[in-house]
């Protein structure tokens, strides 16, 4: 693939497999300044791809460059990268400040005290900086890990599930921090498995499903694809044949299948219209509804639809 002149990260045909299990399959993408989200369900290969970008793992195939350089076996490039791993483990015996100081020392930051102070202020943990990390809540640990990640003021931040474990207030705060860091011209790549989480955070979204890149675009484009997908609804009632005959004429209904003696499987692309029409049709036909349940409302099925064009 051809990289644009502004691309900070270029992932070119990267695959990674472990003992015959494919974690990432032929992914190519570029990441430019601003906030880019890598979205996908758990097990989609997001972390493996981020680890390949960060040089923590060697791709089985393909190439990753950051600022035009390979990262693997090139530790000098980490001066320009702040990478926050997914797992939350830290050195529990260190204080929050000690942890950020350690990162600053290893990065050979010149104004160590100033950089540590600014980083801790950024994540709003000044009050708790002298407590041991072992006593921190999950959200506080995430924020202090972010402080350690940005203490050397890198132009690229790679954050694996940075909002995980945070409460709503912390989430809003971290979102604002990430947006502010991006507004200063940085490239920020975040991963998440929650679509709404990346709304208002990311300028661009790369959607990964089953190790493959399923879709790319801004939040609106991804949302539109979600809204366009067909929904399957299970409807249990006293007389499924009569209700199927009544539903099949509705504009919102694409197909109706009879499932057993009391059930229907209805497919619709306009679920809100179906929600309004279904009770009215049942009432008109004198059919009592006993159960209405969306069959494919899980995030995994949404991702699967976007990846393959067919839901479950």
């Amino acid at each position: 693939m051809s990289a644009t002149a502004e691309a900070t990260i270029v992932v070119d045909g990267v695959s990674k497999w472990f003992s015959g299990v494919v974690a990432v399959s032929d992914v190519s993408l570029v990441v430019e300044p601003g906030v880019t989200a890598l979205l996908g369900p758990n097990g989609a290969g997001k972390t493996t791809l981020l680890r390949a970008i960060g040089g923590l793992t060697q791709p089985s195939q393909g190439r990753v460059t950051v600022f035009g350089e390979t990262v693997r076996r090139n530790p000098g490039v980490y001066r320009r990268i702040g990478y926050m791993p997914e797992h939350e483990s830290v050195y529990d015996f260190l204080t929050g400040r000690g942890f950020v100081e350690l990162a600053a020392r290893l990065q050979k930051v010149e104004d160590l005290d100033g950089a540590v102070r600014r980083a801790i202020e950024t994540v709003d943990l000044v009050e708790h900086q002298n407590r041991r990390l072992g006593g921190y809540s999950r959200g506080m640990r995430q924020r202090m890990r972010l402080a350690a990640t940005l203490v050397h003021d890198p132009p690229l931040l790679v954050l694996d599930e940075p909002l995980s474990g945070t409460d709503p207030a912390q989430r809003l705060h971290l979102r604002d921090v990430i947006r502010a860091l991006a507004a200063e011209g940085r490239t920020i790549l975040v991963s998440s498995h929650i679509l709404e989480e990346v709304d208002e955070l990311a300028d661009r979204i790369h959607l990964m499903v089953s190790g493959k890149l399923a879709a790319s675009g801004d939040y609106r484009a991804i949302r539109q694809k979600l809204d366009d997908r067909p929904f399957h609804v299970r409807v249990d009632c006293a007389d499924p044949r009569a209700l199927a005959a009544g539903l099949v004429g509705l504009e919102a209904v694409e197909s109706v299948e009879i499932a057993g003696t009391v059930g229907l499987r209805v497919m619709s692309r306009d679920v809100s219209s179906l929600q309004r029409s279904l009770p009215a049709v049942a009432r008109e036909l004198g059919v009592r509804l006993t159960r209405v349940e969306p069959l494919d409302d899980s995030l995994e099925s949404v991702f699967e639809y976007l990846a393959t064009g067919s839901g479950r």
Binding site: T57, Y78, F93
Partner: protein, 238 residues
Amino acid sequence: MTAIFGLTVRQLAGSRRLWLVLGLVALPVLAALVFRTGESTTTSARFADNVTRTLIGSAILPLVMLLFATSAFGNELVDRTLGYLALKPIARWRIVLPKLAAAFVVGGLPVAASGSVAVALVDGGALGGALATGAGLLVGAAAYAALFTWAGLATRHALLMGLVYVFVWEATLAAYLDGVRFLSIRRYTLAVIHGLDGARLATIDNPLSAGVALVAAAIVVVGFTALTVRKLVRMDVP
């Protein structure tokens, strides 16, 4: 490198295994005190040799170094904190050397001090044997540190591998097979002690000269340090 050295010392010294190690390290001194205060049919030289050879050289030194050196990287692999070091602009040898040094300092120094004090107590305060014992134990500690630090990074079964090396290879095979003696850190340790003080360990059958033992120990240190650096460069960091 001081930041990683300090971090590793705190990791190793702050763990519960420190108490076990302190208990082990106290044993030679306790044995020496018992010898000095009680009646014994053996000579002080023979007792000092036995403590050095069987208690410290065969058990305490290798076990203490096994516990600490395998943890120098092993802890960070288990709790997945190695990334915090690997994701920094630091050449890999600059990560390995301070970790090795930390294992040597936290494990090797107390054992060497314990051995020296024990021998000095048994010898009635004579320093020659004590210093030779300390120096030999430090040579052994450095070699064990390099071997077991590599093992801690290279395999999840480093402790088992180390125990097999110490109790099967060094304690059993090396006692019967001449060739194996040249591949035994325990033998290097004892040979250096004997080389520095000819009166110490004179009765044991040790085919190595102190010079050969020092060169062999240096080869182990350099070789396994290089292997550890190579492993860290090539491995996937968890």
